[in-house]
């Protein structure tokens, strides 16, 4: 056996190992958000993935972890999403009804132009806090595949109610916020 043969074999094996690790990492990372939905459906209460994003309605940023001690209704939306327009007034009404009971409605606008999102908030008279995630980096961590989508976070920062795909009704919002408040 010549000197170069083990070296070439070593390089090839290392390259294949690196590619396999990258593939596994990608699969795990992609599946993480879907794992949350499965965990909650199975009755578990995983910790809500934290984020800190620039605010749309005010200066500065808002982090999910800074809302510990409050129940959070986390709503994913975009200004170009038609069902989000129907849902926005219901969320605003829920915010006004529930804010005195330790509940915060947080809107997370993603894959959207910031100016469009600002106009959307003005047009619908939205007063609850909203953050902007242009690249949509947070979506994958929650397994969000479309808009609108909503998660409920308990006071201890855990996902406690199965997430809702599509626009929420007022009845759903009240029912799920009651459930989240009990956790």
């Amino acid at each position: 056996m010549t000197w170069w043969r083990p070296a070439v074999q070593g390089i090839a094996v290392t390259l294949i190992a690196v590619l396999l690790v990258l593939l596994a990492w990608r699969l795990i990372d992609d599946g993480r958000g879907n794992g949350l939905a499965k965990a909650v459906a199975a009755g578990r209460t995983p910790v809500a993935p934290d984020f800190r994003l620039p605010r749309l309605d005010a200066a500065g940023t808002l982090g999910l972890s800074s809302l510990r001690g409050k129940v959070v209704l986390l709503n994913f939306w975009a200004s170009w999403c038609v069902p989000c327009k129907q849902e926005a007034p219901r969320l605003e009404a829920a915010w006004r009804r529930w804010r005195a009971h330790g509940v915060v409605v947080v809107g997370l606008d993603a894959q959207d132009f910031r100016t469009d999102a600002g106009r959307f908030l003005q047009r619908h008279g939205i007063t609850y806090p909203n953050v902007h995630d242009g690249p949509g980096d947070v979506l994958g961590r929650y397994g969000v595949s479309g808009f609108p989508e909503t998660w409920f976070v308990s006071r201890s920062g855990k996902l406690v109610v199965e997430h809702v795909d599509g626009p929420l009704t007022s009845g759903q919002i009240d029912r799920d916020l009651r459930r989240a408040s009990r956790e």
């Binding site: 170069w4 070439v8 170009w80 894959q111 132009f113 469009d116 690249p135 949509g136």
Partner: protein
């Protein structure tokens, strides 16, 4: 100036002129080919998602204002992140996407060169020892016997 230099300069001008025109006066189809739809992860030219239609409106308005291609793409990057570009950037982590294929090709060429050199050296050694073309003694003996039987 020699003819060769003049030809090179002419060639450079031929290629540089359209690139400069494209940078200063981009068209919607050009940008649609270089930008991705953030929701469907396809080229903008292939997408009819609501956000893609909104991006087209955004690009058209900027072209009408006389903005350059770099200005428009950098605004799209500031809105949607670097993932909005069809080609990875030539800096930072994106540079790896450009360098890795070249490094792979160079590594493959190096392996082929080493293996070819080794084979050539083996062939030269065989020629020098005179082993090339000579049969194994047992086989040679068997062949002689076979030929002798044939002659008889």
């Amino acid at each position: 100036m020699s003819i060769r230099r003049f030809a090179l300069l002419l060639l450079a001008l031929v290629f540089a002129a359209p690139a400069a025109a494209s940078e200063l006066h981009p068209t919607l189809p050009e940008l649609e080919h270089e930008v991705m739809c953030p929701t469907c992860h396809t080229l903008l030219e292939l997408s009819h998602a609501p956000v893609a239609e909104r991006m087209r409106v955004f690009i058209r308005a900027r072209i009408a204002r006389g903005e350059t291609k770099s200005e428009i793409t950098s605004q799209l990057v500031s809105e949607f992140g670097e993932g909005v570009l069809a080609a990875p950037p030539t800096r930072g982590f994106g540079l790896l996407a450009w360098l890795l294929p070249i490094a792979g090709l160079l590594a493959a060429a190096a392996v082929v060169a080493i293996v070819a050199r080794h084979w050539r050296r083996l062939a030269v050694r065989d020629d020098a020892s005179g082993a090339h073309g000579r049969l194994a003694p047992a086989l040679e003996r068997a062949l002689d016997e076979e030929l002798a039987r044939y002659d008889a």
